[in-house]
Amino acid sequence: MSEPEPAVRNAPAGPPYRLHAHPPEVSARRARSFGSWYYAEHVLRSMQGYRWTLLASSVGTPVMYLFAMGVGLATLVDRNSADAFGGVGYLAFLAPALLASATIMTAATEFTYPVMDGFKWRRVYYGPHASPLNTDQIVNGHVLAITARLTATTIIYFLIVAAFGASPSATGAAVIPVAVLSGLAFGLPLMAYSASIEDDRGQFALVMRFIVTPLFLFSGTFFPLSTLPVFLQWIGWISPLWHGTELGRSLTYGYDIPLWLAVLHVVYLVVLAVVGLRLAHTVYARRLGR
């Protein structure tokens, strides 16, 4: 075998370099400033492949729930206990809870399997990790994209709630950011947990069955939390869904809560979200930087 040719020196950058990308310094500067958005853009592009499925479930879920429970069940409930729900119909009582729980359930899906996919199945995170982006930006970008998805789903849900006449207050639309915040308060700690899982042994199914479902049932969703025995009420107090629902009710039909309590609800949700995000930064950095 002949000795390999030495590389051609000072050769013109022939194929494949003809278009002249901007220099690496510019790439690094832009990535430092906008890296999170670049990754969010990627995730949203991937989601586009499912846009019709996503749209169908975003419309189908509220229509089904509102018809079955809000209309069918509400007719019965309203006939028997007109004053049990603070003077509003059962549909109005239920709608903000269903809306917040839909957002949280979407968050529970988006912050579990796709995270595992990023680390393990298709290793999608390792591509951007080798680029100028840093790990915090990968986390933030993924969160931004999921926030956009949650917002879109929640807006559709709210429009359908409004069409059912279940959001009488003028402040009703403010339930949208509250529901998205609830989704993040639940989803971001879950994201950190998902990122820490090395092998899928059914943990996510357990999360759905033993965390998401009890929260859905016992967070003052279908009846006021105060009607539960005291020893079960703590489920509501720790549940982002209860805090989001209480806020939502005050916005959609003027359910009366003191200002300090409203502030406490918001603070609780924000703290969960921020702590979850910080944890996710740590876990991602440790796992990607091994």
């Binding site: 075998m1 051609v8 050769a11 690496p24 510019v26 690094a28 500067r29 298709r122 930087g289």
Partner: protein, 313 residues
């Protein structure tokens, strides 16, 4: 001969180490790579090649030592270092939910490259990777070789002057490997610095100007492929098979033929300047191997000499 222009090396590693607990994945290695060189890390699986690559790529922290890429420390200037590089990881991590062309565009966005640059660039790279007719296909419809070429195309989206390739052709069939080598050779010709790891000696011989032989986290030898073979092996090798039972037994009777004898379970290697002459001497001693083969020394022999083990186990 290695004639490199004076100037700072694009990559410089000094006493670089990476430990995982008590395990020394990379143990005190030093090397420099000048611009435009094609530099290889040759060694078996688990030698520490990928760990070294991940440190150069600015995605894994070192335990100790010094490391600079374009004069920058990747731990202080991660984004700047990574902006200089194109990276082909050992395992493909393409986004299979995106189409082939979109994988390139999305990756280019990480470098802040505008769409006006990325659209024509993606088409140009698909042509380079011979994937133009697959532009609109889903990634999971591609063969292993095509995915590998797409990963290489993706690594070139920012027109990097340094390309890191971690076992670029592992798991590909011979034809796919040759297509890939041709593409890499073109990049090398256009002056791109290639850093590649491999456990294929033929790949190292084809692509590397210079390489280090790595084993158990340490550098065993360094030089051009031809120089390594000259320094650590003979010109030719005579391979003899006497049947699996007899190879080691016969070894004693072969003493003194050639410069060195290497009895392996399946064959005996005799290192000699003239393989045919060595074979004549074997037969003149009345030994009748089942098969005999005279070949040129390769990097495999260098590795065997340096470590006492085969490269591909």
């Amino acid at each position: 001969m290695l004639t490199h222009p004076a100037g700072p090396p694009v990559i410089s590693a000094q006493q670089l180490s990476k430990h995982y607990g008590d395990f020394r994945a990379v143990d005190d290695i030093s090397f420099e790579v000048p611009a435009g060189e094609s530099f290889g890390l040759l060694g078996p699986n688990g030698a520490g090649k990928s760990t070294t690559m991940r440190m150069i790529g600015g995605v894994s922290q070192r335990t100790s030592g010094r490391l600079t890429i374009m004069g920058l420390d990747p731990e202080d200037h991660g984004p700047e270092v990574r902006a200089h590089l194109g990276v082909v990881p050992q395992q493909d991590n393409l986004d299979e939910e995106l189409k082939v062309r979109d994988n390139l565009i999305v990756y280019g966005r990480y470098f802040g490259l505008p769409m006006s640059y990325l659209r024509p660039k993606a088409d140009e790279l698909l042509e380079f990777a011979q994937l133009t007719d697959k532009a609109g296909a889903k990634v999971d419809a591609l063969s292993g070789g095509m995915k590998r070429r797409l990963t290489i195309a993706r690594s070139l989206i920012n027109e990097p002057r340094i390309l890191l390739l971690d076992e670029p052709t592992t798991g590909l069939d011979p034809q796919a490997r040759h297509i890939l080598w041709d593409r890499l050779f073109r990049l090398k010709e256009s002056g791109v610095t290639l850093i590649l790891t491999t456990h294929y000696m033929d790949e190292a011989e084809q692509l590397c100007d210079r390489l280090v032989v790595v084993d158990k986290g340490r550098i065993m030898a360094e030089g051009s492929p031809a120089q390594l073979i000259r320094d650590h092996s003979t010109r030719e090798v005579l391979e003899l098979r006497f049947g699996s039972e007899r190879n080691t037994m016969v070894a004693g009777e072969l003493e003194g033929i050639g410069e060195r004898l290497e009895p392996l379970p399946d064959r005996v290697l005799i290192y000699a300047q003239d393989g045919e002459a060595a074979l004549e001497e074997v037969t003149s001693r009345g030994l009748k191997p089942i098969t005999s083969l005279v070949r040129r020394s390769s990097l495999e022999d260098v590795f065997l000499r340096l470590t006492g083990r085969s490269l591909v186990e």
